[in-house]
Symmetry: C2
Subunit: 98 residues, 2 copies
Protein backbone atom coordinates (compact mmCIF):
# COMPACT_ATOMS: atom_id res chain seq x y z
CA UNK A 1 0.00 0.00 0.00
CA UNK A 2 2.58 2.52 1.14
CA UNK A 3 4.57 3.32 -1.99
CA UNK A 4 7.55 4.56 -0.02
CA UNK A 5 7.65 1.94 2.70
CA UNK A 6 10.63 0.05 1.32
CA UNK A 7 12.87 2.95 0.38
CA UNK A 8 16.20 3.00 2.15
CA UNK A 9 16.75 6.11 4.20
CA UNK A 10 20.48 6.17 3.50
CA UNK A 11 19.78 6.51 -0.20
CA UNK A 12 17.56 9.55 0.09
CA UNK A 13 20.58 11.73 -0.48
CA UNK A 14 21.28 12.42 -4.15
CA UNK A 15 25.00 12.28 -3.56
CA UNK A 16 24.95 8.92 -1.81
CA UNK A 17 22.62 7.69 -4.52
CA UNK A 18 25.14 8.85 -7.09
CA UNK A 19 28.08 7.23 -5.33
CA UNK A 20 26.31 3.90 -5.17
CA UNK A 21 25.22 4.17 -8.75
CA UNK A 22 28.77 4.83 -9.91
CA UNK A 23 30.17 2.05 -7.76
CA UNK A 24 27.69 -0.45 -9.11
CA UNK A 25 29.12 0.08 -12.57
CA UNK A 26 32.79 0.65 -11.87
CA UNK A 27 34.18 -1.73 -9.33
CA UNK A 28 36.88 0.61 -8.06
CA UNK A 29 36.73 4.36 -8.27
CA UNK A 30 39.05 6.88 -6.68
CA UNK A 31 38.11 9.98 -4.77
CA UNK A 32 38.86 12.46 -7.47
CA UNK A 33 36.96 10.67 -10.20
CA UNK A 34 33.92 10.41 -7.96
CA UNK A 35 34.21 14.07 -7.16
CA UNK A 36 34.28 15.01 -10.81
CA UNK A 37 31.49 12.67 -11.84
CA UNK A 38 29.16 13.89 -9.15
CA UNK A 39 30.22 17.53 -9.25
CA UNK A 40 30.47 18.02 -5.52
CA UNK A 41 32.97 19.65 -3.22
CA UNK A 42 35.54 17.34 -1.70
CA UNK A 43 34.47 17.90 1.89
CA UNK A 44 30.89 17.13 1.05
CA UNK A 45 31.82 14.00 -0.85
CA UNK A 46 34.10 12.82 1.93
CA UNK A 47 31.34 13.05 4.49
CA UNK A 48 28.88 11.12 2.35
CA UNK A 49 31.49 8.46 1.67
CA UNK A 50 31.96 8.27 5.39
CA UNK A 51 28.25 7.69 5.96
CA UNK A 52 28.21 4.94 3.36
CA UNK A 53 31.24 3.30 4.93
CA UNK A 54 29.77 3.50 8.43
CA UNK A 55 26.73 1.69 7.13
CA UNK A 56 28.90 -1.01 5.58
CA UNK A 57 27.81 -0.19 2.05
CA UNK A 58 31.22 0.67 0.66
CA UNK A 59 34.79 -0.16 1.54
CA UNK A 60 37.90 1.92 1.19
CA UNK A 61 41.24 0.86 -0.18
CA UNK A 62 44.18 3.05 0.62
CA UNK A 63 46.96 2.15 -1.73
CA UNK A 64 49.66 3.58 -3.91
CA UNK A 65 50.27 4.22 -7.55
CA UNK A 66 54.03 4.14 -7.56
CA UNK A 67 54.79 6.12 -4.45
CA UNK A 68 51.74 8.34 -4.72
CA UNK A 69 48.81 7.59 -2.47
CA UNK A 70 45.64 6.45 -4.14
CA UNK A 71 42.34 5.86 -2.37
CA UNK A 72 39.70 3.86 -4.11
CA UNK A 73 36.19 2.98 -3.11
CA UNK A 74 34.20 -0.10 -3.87
CA UNK A 75 30.75 -1.38 -3.08
CA UNK A 76 30.40 -4.18 -0.53
CA UNK A 77 28.14 -7.20 -0.82
CA UNK A 78 25.84 -5.64 1.76
CA UNK A 79 25.90 -2.37 -0.16
CA UNK A 80 24.99 -4.07 -3.38
CA UNK A 81 22.14 -5.87 -1.71
CA UNK A 82 20.83 -2.74 -0.04
CA UNK A 83 21.10 -0.66 -3.16
CA UNK A 84 19.39 -3.25 -5.31
CA UNK A 85 16.60 -3.38 -2.74
CA UNK A 86 16.25 0.34 -2.96
CA UNK A 87 16.13 0.28 -6.73
CA UNK A 88 13.43 -2.38 -6.64
CA UNK A 89 11.46 -0.22 -4.22
CA UNK A 90 11.87 2.73 -6.59
CA UNK A 91 10.78 0.65 -9.52
CA UNK A 92 7.71 -0.49 -7.64
CA UNK A 93 6.89 3.09 -6.85
CA UNK A 94 7.30 4.04 -10.48
CA UNK A 95 5.15 1.14 -11.60
CA UNK A 96 2.55 2.05 -8.99
CA UNK A 97 2.59 5.55 -10.39
CA UNK A 98 1.91 4.60 -13.99
Amino acid sequence: MNPIGNLNKIFESRIRLGVMSVLMVNNEVNFNDLKQMLEVTDGNLASHLNTLEENGYIKVYKGFIGRKTNTTYAITTAGEKAFKGHLIALEHMIKFTK
Copy 2:
Protein backbone atom coordinates in the same frame (compact mmCIF):
# COMPACT_ATOMS: atom_id res chain seq x y z
CA MET B 1 27.98 11.57 -17.21
CA ASN B 2 26.69 12.67 -13.83
CA PRO B 3 24.04 10.06 -12.95
CA ILE B 4 22.31 12.36 -10.49
CA GLY B 5 22.43 15.61 -12.43
CA ASN B 6 18.77 15.58 -13.40
CA LEU B 7 17.21 14.55 -10.14
CA ASN B 8 14.78 17.08 -8.70
CA LYS B 9 15.78 18.32 -5.30
CA ILE B 10 12.20 18.66 -4.10
CA PHE B 11 11.69 14.94 -4.61
CA GLU B 12 14.61 13.87 -2.49
CA SER B 13 12.26 13.56 0.45
CA ARG B 14 10.61 10.18 0.70
CA ILE B 15 7.39 11.72 1.93
CA ARG B 16 7.11 14.20 -0.92
CA LEU B 17 8.00 11.39 -3.28
CA GLY B 18 5.18 9.37 -1.78
CA VAL B 19 2.66 12.18 -2.02
CA MET B 20 3.44 12.71 -5.68
CA SER B 21 3.32 9.03 -6.36
CA VAL B 22 -0.09 8.71 -4.75
CA LEU B 23 -1.41 11.79 -6.53
CA MET B 24 -0.26 10.52 -9.91
CA VAL B 25 -2.55 7.53 -9.51
CA ASN B 26 -5.49 9.01 -7.64
CA ASN B 27 -6.58 12.35 -8.96
CA GLU B 28 -7.96 13.64 -5.71
CA VAL B 29 -6.90 12.45 -2.30
CA ASN B 30 -7.80 13.90 1.07
CA PHE B 31 -5.50 14.65 3.94
CA ASN B 32 -6.39 11.70 6.06
CA ASP B 33 -6.06 9.12 3.33
CA LEU B 34 -2.63 10.46 2.45
CA LYS B 35 -1.66 10.34 6.08
CA GLN B 36 -2.68 6.72 6.37
CA MET B 37 -1.12 5.64 3.11
CA LEU B 38 2.23 7.20 3.90
CA GLU B 39 2.18 6.45 7.62
CA VAL B 40 3.32 9.87 8.76
CA THR B 41 2.26 12.26 11.49
CA ASP B 42 -0.19 14.92 10.42
CA GLY B 43 2.10 17.85 11.15
CA ASN B 44 4.86 16.30 9.13
CA LEU B 45 2.54 15.59 6.23
CA ALA B 46 1.10 19.11 6.34
CA SER B 47 4.51 20.67 6.07
CA HIS B 48 5.52 18.54 3.11
CA LEU B 49 2.22 19.29 1.39
CA ASN B 50 3.00 22.92 1.97
CA THR B 51 6.39 22.62 0.28
CA LEU B 52 4.82 20.89 -2.70
CA GLU B 53 2.16 23.56 -2.97
CA GLU B 54 4.69 26.39 -2.71
CA ASN B 55 6.52 24.84 -5.62
CA GLY B 56 3.34 24.65 -7.65
CA TYR B 57 3.38 20.87 -7.82
CA ILE B 58 0.06 20.25 -6.10
CA LYS B 59 -3.10 22.22 -5.55
CA VAL B 60 -5.48 22.20 -2.64
CA TYR B 61 -9.25 22.04 -2.76
CA LYS B 62 -11.06 23.04 0.37
CA GLY B 63 -14.60 21.77 0.10
CA PHE B 64 -17.37 20.14 2.05
CA ILE B 65 -18.95 16.76 2.32
CA GLY B 66 -22.36 17.79 3.55
CA ARG B 67 -21.45 20.39 6.13
CA LYS B 68 -18.19 18.77 7.10
CA THR B 69 -14.98 20.25 5.74
CA ASN B 70 -13.04 18.14 3.29
CA THR B 71 -9.65 19.08 1.90
CA THR B 72 -8.35 17.25 -1.10
CA TYR B 73 -5.06 17.47 -2.92
CA ALA B 74 -4.34 17.02 -6.58
CA ILE B 75 -1.30 17.18 -8.78
CA THR B 76 -0.88 20.18 -11.07
CA THR B 77 0.26 20.08 -14.68
CA ALA B 78 3.61 21.47 -13.60
CA GLY B 79 3.78 18.88 -10.85
CA GLU B 80 3.09 16.06 -13.24
CA LYS B 81 5.75 17.32 -15.59
CA ALA B 82 8.33 17.75 -12.84
CA PHE B 83 7.59 14.37 -11.33
CA LYS B 84 7.74 12.57 -14.65
CA GLY B 85 11.05 14.28 -15.31
CA HIS B 86 12.32 13.03 -11.98
CA LEU B 87 11.17 9.49 -12.67
CA ILE B 88 12.92 9.55 -16.03
CA ALA B 89 16.09 10.72 -14.30
CA LEU B 90 15.72 7.88 -11.80
CA GLU B 91 15.17 5.37 -14.57
CA HIS B 92 18.27 6.60 -16.34
CA MET B 93 20.23 6.22 -13.17
CA ILE B 94 18.93 2.70 -12.72
CA LYS B 95 19.71 1.82 -16.31
CA PHE B 96 23.17 3.32 -15.90
CA THR B 97 23.58 1.13 -12.85
CA LYS B 98 22.77 -2.14 -14.57
